[in-house]
C-alpha cells in the first residue's frame, strides 16, 4: 500500500461526486464565521475559491503578488473554456468530455477527478453568465460555441480572443463583492514565502509585503495554494514575468509531494524568439491552425537564402515547400494535437530547416485559406471571373474577421504583414500539467493544505487539451474545493483562532528572513536573470520537447552546478526593507533551480513517451506509427509523486497507480 491515499469515493464513476457530496461533513454557518482560510493566488482557481469560500461564510485572506487580483495570468488565456452543455446538439455529453480529456492526457490522469471536472463544467458556464461574463452569442441571442483542439464536438465557449480575461474578471468581481462585505481581506503585492505547519497541519503562511519589504505572519485553519504553474523554469515561456513556483515549491519542501514535474506542455503556435534580449514568448491562439498550413522549404539552399534575406518565402513554389505535418500525418494534418505539432516543428528545425536568423521558426501560411475563402466569397456574391486581386481581397476579409486581432498582434511584434507573407511560429512552454500532488479532495499530503488550478497535478494527465485549463481552474475554485474543504474544516470548529506567536511561526519567519538577508548581503557578480537564463537554456535543450537519458543526466548535473554558482555569485541590489523586484526574482529563481532538477529527475525516471513528455528511447520502431511516441502502460501507468528529502536529487518517489475502469487504454494515432 502506497503512502498516497487518493481518497477516491467508492461506487460507479457517474455517481461518485454526487454521492460523496451528499455524505460530506458540513460546517454550520455560525461556525464558519470563526474559521479562517488563506488563499494564495487570485487567478481563476484562487479568485473563484476565495469568492466562494467567502460567500459560504468563511473568513478569507487572499494574497497575490500583483497590484490587483485582476492581473493574474489566467487573464492571458485566449481561446475559450470547454463545457459539456451540448448546446449545439452534436452529441456532446459529460462522458464524452471526460473521455476526450483522459485520452488527450494520454491516460495519465485520475479517472474520478476528470469525470467530476466534466460533470461540473456545465455549471461553470451558468455561473459565469449569471455574473455578467459577456460570452459570444449568435444572432438568436444564445451562446455560441467553437470547436477547439481537434475534438469532434463544438463545446468551447468564448469571449472574442479574451476568454481568460473575461472569466477572470468575473471571478474578480465575485471577489470584489466579498471584499466590500469584509468577508475577504485582500493582500495585494504580497508574496507567500513559506507555509507554517503546527502539529502537522497547515496553519498559516509567512508573506512579504512587496511594497515595504515587511515580513508578515498570517494564520488560518486551512491554506489553499492556487499559484499557477512553473513554466517559467524555462526562463522563456508564455507565462507572465512574475509567474513563479515559489508557493508550490515551499509547500513541497514542507511535506507536500510534487507530482509529475516532467509533464509540460509546449504550445506549437508562438511567435519565435528574435534575440538574446527576449524576455518572454507570445502565444498565438491554436485556432490559427484551423486555416494555416505549416511548412518549411524542402531544399537547404532555399533555407539559407531566406535566412540571408535573399529569398522571400512567397517566391517558393508549392513543390519547393515541405508541408511536413500534412506529409507525416495525412489524417489530421495541421490539426494534430499540440505535443505532436511541437515536436514535428522541432524535428525540422533541428534538421536545419528553421527559417529565421535563430534557426528556430517554421512558416504558418494562410495563402491557401485566403484563396479558398476568396473563391467561396466570390461565388456567394455572384462575382463572375473575379480577378486574382479581388479573390485575395475577399479572402483576406474573411481571414481578418476570424483572426484579425491575432494578425494585428503578430504584426505589432514582428513588423511583418501576415496577410502578405507567411507567419513565423515556433513552439514555446505554455502550461505545466505536473504540480503539487492532491487527493480527490484537492488536499495535498499535508493536512489542511490544499492546492488547486494549474498548481496541482490532477486533471490533465500528461497533456492538456485546449480550452481545458480555464475549465479546471474554475471547477476547482467554484465547485469542488468549497465542498471538500468543508469536510476538513468541520473538525476545526473547536480549534479557535490560530495564534501567530507560536514557535512554529517564529521558526518559519526566521528561515524566511535569513534567506532574504542572504540575498541582499551576497555580494556576487551576476544578476538573477543571468542564472535564470542559463537554467532556462538547460531546461529547453535537455528537458524540452524531446528528452533522452543522457541529456537528462547532464541536465541534472548542470542545474545543480548552476544552483551552487547562483548561491555564490548572485548579486541583488537594494535592500530588504523596500520594494525590490530583483530580490523577489532571486527567491523565485532559487526555487526554480531546485524544481528544475527534480523535473529532470522525474523525466529521467519516466522511461516512456506520453503526452508532453517525449523520451527519444521510447518510440514505435516499425509499422504505421514508426517514430511516434510510445507509451508504456504496463510499467508507467502511475502518478509519480516526489517527497522532499533535502536536495532534489534525494527526493523519494511514491507511486499512485492509475486505474482505468471506465475507459480503454489506446495508443493515440493521428496518421
Amino acid at each position: 500500500m502506497s503512502v498516497l491515499d487518493s481518497k477516491i469515493p467508492k461506487g460507479p464513476l457517474k455517481d461518485k461526486w454526487t454521492t460523496y457530496k451528499d455524505k460530506i461533513n458540513l460546517v454550520n454557518p455560525a461556525n464558519k464565521r470563526n474559521i479562517d482560510v488563506i488563499v494564495v493566488g487570485t487567478g481563476l482557481a484562487g479568485g473563484s475559491a476565495a469568492a466562494t469560500l467567502a460567500e459560504l461564510g468563511y473568513r478569507v485572506k487572499a494574497f497575490c503578488y500583483q497590484d490587483s487580483p485582476r492581473r493574474a495570468h489566467s487573464i492571458a488565456a485566449q481561446g475559450g473554456i470547454n463545457a459539456a452543455k451540448n448546446y449545439q446538439g452534436d452529441g456532446d455529453s459529460t462522458y464524452r468530455l471526460f473521455y476526450d480529456t483522459v485520452k488527450g492526457g494520454d491516460y495519465r490522469s485520475r479517472e474520478a477527478n476528470v469525470y467530476r471536472l466534466a460533470e461540473v463544467s456545465a455549471n461553470i458556464i451558468d455561473q459565469c453568465v449569471a455574473q455578467g461574463v459577456p460570452f459570444a452569442r449568435d444572432y438568436g441571442g444564445l451562446l455560441d460555441n467553437r470547436s477547439f483542439g481537434g475534438v469532434l464536438v463544438s463545446r468551447t465557449f468564448y469571449a472574442k480572443g479574451q476568454t481568460g480575461q473575461q472569466l477572470l474578471l468575473g471571478a474578480y468581481s465575485a471577489m470584489n463583492r466579498q471584499i466590500a462585505r469584509g468577508k475577504i481581506e485582500m493582500y495585494n503585492r504580497h508574496e507567500m514565502l513559506d507555509v507554517v505547519k503546527v502539529n502537522g497541519k497547515a496553519r498559516g503562511i509567512i508573506a512579504r509585503n512587496l511594497v515595504t519589504g515587511e515580513i508578515e505572519r498570517h494564520s488560518a485553519h486551512a491554506v489553499v495554494i492556487a499559484s499557477g504553474g512553473y513554466g517559467n523554469v524555462y526562463f522563456l515561456s508564455t507565462n507572465a514575468m512574475g509567474s513563479n513556483a515559489t508557493a508550490a515549491w515551499k509547500i513541497h519542501k514542507k511535506g507536500a509531494f510534487f507530482a509529475n514535474p516532467c509533464y509540460t506542455q509546449i504550445h506549437p503556435t508562438c511567435i519565435p524568439r528574435s534575440g538574446d534580449y527576449q524576455s518572454k514568448l507570445t502565444l498565438m491562439s491554436e485556432s490559427l491552425r484551423n486555416d494555416g498550413r505549416i511548412w518549411v522549404p524542402k531544399n537547404m539552399e532555399d533555407v539559407l537564402a531566406i535566412r540571408e534575406g535573399k529569398l522571400k518565402p512567397t517566391q517558393l513554389s508549392e513543390d519547393q515547400r515541405d508541408y511536413y505535418l500534412e506529409r507525416r500525418y495525412p489524417a489530421f494534418g495541421n490539426l494534430v494535437p499540440r505535443d505532436v505539432a511541437s515536436r514535428a516543428a522541432k524535428e525540422r528545425c533541428d534538421a536545419g530547416y528553421g527559417v529565421n536568423a535563430t534557426g528556430e521558426a517554421v512558416y504558418l501560411d494562410f495563402k491557401s485559406a485566403i484563396e479558398r475563402y476568396g473563391l467561396e466569397q466570390a461565388k456567394i456574391h455572384g462575382i463572375q471571373n473575379a480577378s486574382k486581386e479581388k479573390i485575395t481581397a475577399l479572402g483576406e476579409a474573411v481571414v481578418e474577421e476570424k483572426y484579425g486581432n491575432l494578425f494585428q498582434m503578430y504584426e505589432k511584434i514582428v513588423d511583418e504583414n501576415p496577410y502578405k507573407t507567411p507567419m513565423m511560429i515556433y513552439p514555446a512552454t505554455h502550461y505545466t500539467m505536473g504540480g503539487v500532488w492532491v487527493d480527490y479532495n484537492l488536499m495535498t499530503t499535508v493536512e489542511g493544505l490544499y492546492c488547486i488550478g494549474e498548481a496541482n497535478f490532477s486533471d490533465h494527465g500528461a497533456n492538456r487539451l485546449g480550452a481545458s485549463a480555464l475549465m479546471q481552474g474554475l471547477a476547482d475554485g467554484y465547485f469542488v474545493l468549497p465542498y471538500t474543504i468543508g469536510d476538513y474544516l468541520s473538525h476545526e470548529i473547536r480549534t479557535g483562532k490560530i495564534p501567530t506567536d507560536s514557535p512554529e511561526f517564529d521558526a518559519a519567519e526566521k528561515e524566511v528572513t535569513e534567506r532574504i538577508n542572504f540575498f541582499v548581503n551576497n555580494k556576487g557578480t551576476h544578476s538573477v536573470d543571468y542564472f535564470h537564463k542559463r537554467l532556462g537554456k538547460v531546461m529547453w535543450d535537455k528537458c524540452g520537447m524531446s528528452r533522452n537519458a543522457q541529456g537528462l543526466k547532464e541536465a541534472i548535473a548542470e542545474i545543480k552546478a548552476i544552483r551552487e554558482e547562483f548561491y555564490k555569485e548572485v548579486k541583488v541590489p537594494g535592500s530588504a526593507n523596500e520594494m525590490n523586484p530583483e530580490l523577489e526574482k532571486a527567491g523565485r529563481v532559487a526555487d526554480f533551480l531546485e524544481l528544475g532538477e527534480l523535473f529532470a529527475k522525474d523525466a529521467l525516471m519516466r522511461e516512456e513517451s506520453c503526452g508532453g513528455h517525449f523520451r527519444e528511447e521510447s518510440v514505435e520502431i516499425d509499422g504505421e506509427q514508426k517514430g511516434e511516441a510510445k507509451r508504456n502502460d504496463k510499467d508507467y501507468a502511475f502518478v509519480a509523486a516526489w517527497e522532499y528529502k533535502g536536495e532534489p536529487s534525494d527526493a523519494v518517489l511514491h507511486k499512485e497507480q492509475l486505474e482505468f475502469k471506465d475507459i480503454e487504454l489506446k495508443q493515440r494515432s493521428y496518421k
Binding site: R71, A76, Q127, P134, G141, Q165, S173, R177, A240, G574
Partner: protein, 248 residues
C-alpha cells in the same frame, strides 16, 4: 541604436524624486520597450546601482500591469498597445526618451515608475459586480437570450484591462472611461440591470471620493486606451447616472 533615457527616479512614496539621465547602447529595433528597460536594469545591476522599478507582468498586453508615460503619452507613441507591446522600432537612433510614472493624485507613486492603482479596485468593490452566489443552481446559461448587439457592445466595454492609461492621459486625471466601461458592461446585460441603479451611484461616488478629476470630454483617454474603449461608454454612464439619480 543608442538612446538617452530620462527616467523618473523616486526611492519611495515619501521621497521627492527627480528625473535622471541614462544612456543605453546597442538596442535592437525588435526589442519591446520593456526589454529595453531590462537591458538598462541589467546594466545598472552590473554597475552596482539600483535598477529602475517598473510594473510589468504578462508582457502580452492583457494584464494591464505596465504603466509608463513615454514621451508625453501613456504607453508611448504607438496606438492600441500597452508599454510591453510597444516596440523600439517606433524610435530612432539617438532619440531622447522621457519616461515617467502615470501621474494622478489617486495613483500615488510607490517607487520609480511604480504607482498604486488600488483606487481602481475600490471603485470596483463599490459595485462593479453582480450579486450572485456560487451555487451550481443558477439558471441555465441560455435561459435569457441576449441580443448579439448588446452582448458584443458589453464585450467591447469589458475588454478594459484596468491599466489606468485613461487617467494618466486625461488632463484632469479623470477615471470616467474606466468606470464608464464597467458600468456599461453590466448595464447592457439583463443580468446586470437588476442592480444598475445602485451600481452606478455607488461606483461614481467612490470614484469621486478617490480624488479623480472631472471629465471634460477631451477624448484623450479613448485615443490612448490600449483596448480602444469608446467614449460612448462615458455617455452611457452619464445617462445611467442621471436616471439613477432621478429614481432616487
Amino acid at each position: 541604436m543608442n538612446l538617452t533615457l530620462k527616467i523618473w527616479r523616486q526611492k519611495g512614496p515619501q521621497d521627492k524624486g527627480k528625473m535622471v539621465d541614462y544612456k543605453v547602447t546597442e538596442i535592437s529595433e525588435h526589442m519591446s520597450f520593456l526589454e529595453m528597460m531590462d537591458v538598462l536594469n541589467e546594466q545598472l545591476t552590473n554597475k552596482g546601482e539600483e535598477p529602475v522599478a517598473f510594473d510589468h507582468d504578462c508582457r502580452e498586453g492583457i494584464c494591464g500591469m505596465c504603466s509608463m508615460y513615454i514621451n508625453g503619452e501613456a504607453h508611448g507613441p504607438d496606438r492600441g498597445v500597452t508599454t510591453c507591446q510597444l516596440h523600439m522600432r517606433m524610435f530612432k537612433d539617438g532619440d531622447t526618451i522621457t519616461i515617467e510614472p502615470f501621474r494622478a493624485k489617486a495613483f500615488p507613486v510607490i517607487k520609480d515608475l511604480v504607482v498604486d492603482r488600488s483606487s481602481f479596485d475600490r471603485i470596483q468593490q463599490a459595485g462593479g459586480y453582480i450579486s450572485v452566489n456560487t451555487s451550481g443552481n443558477t439558471q441555465d446559461a441560455n435561459a435569457i437570450p441576449i441580443d448579439k448587439h448588446s452582448a458584443d457592445t458589453a464585450m467591447d466595454a469589458a475588454t478594459c484591462i484596468g491599466c489606468g492609461a485613461c487617467v494618466a492621459s486625461c488632463k484632469n486625471s479623470s477615471a470616467m472611461l474606466f468606470v464608464g466601461a464597467k458600468v456599461s458592461q453590466y448595464a447592457l446585460l439583463p443580468q446586470g440591470r437588476v442592480e444598475a441603479t445602485d451600481r452606478v451611484k455607488n461606483m461614481v461616488a467612490q470614484m469621486d471620493l478617490e480624488g479623480f478629476g472631472n471629465c471634460t470630454n477631451t477624448g484623450a483617454c479613448e485615443v490612448e486606451c490600449p483596448k480602444g474603449i469608446s467614449l460612448e461608454n462615458i455617455a452611457r454612464m452619464n445617462r445611467e447616472f442621471f436616471s439613477a439619480s432621478i429614481k432616487g
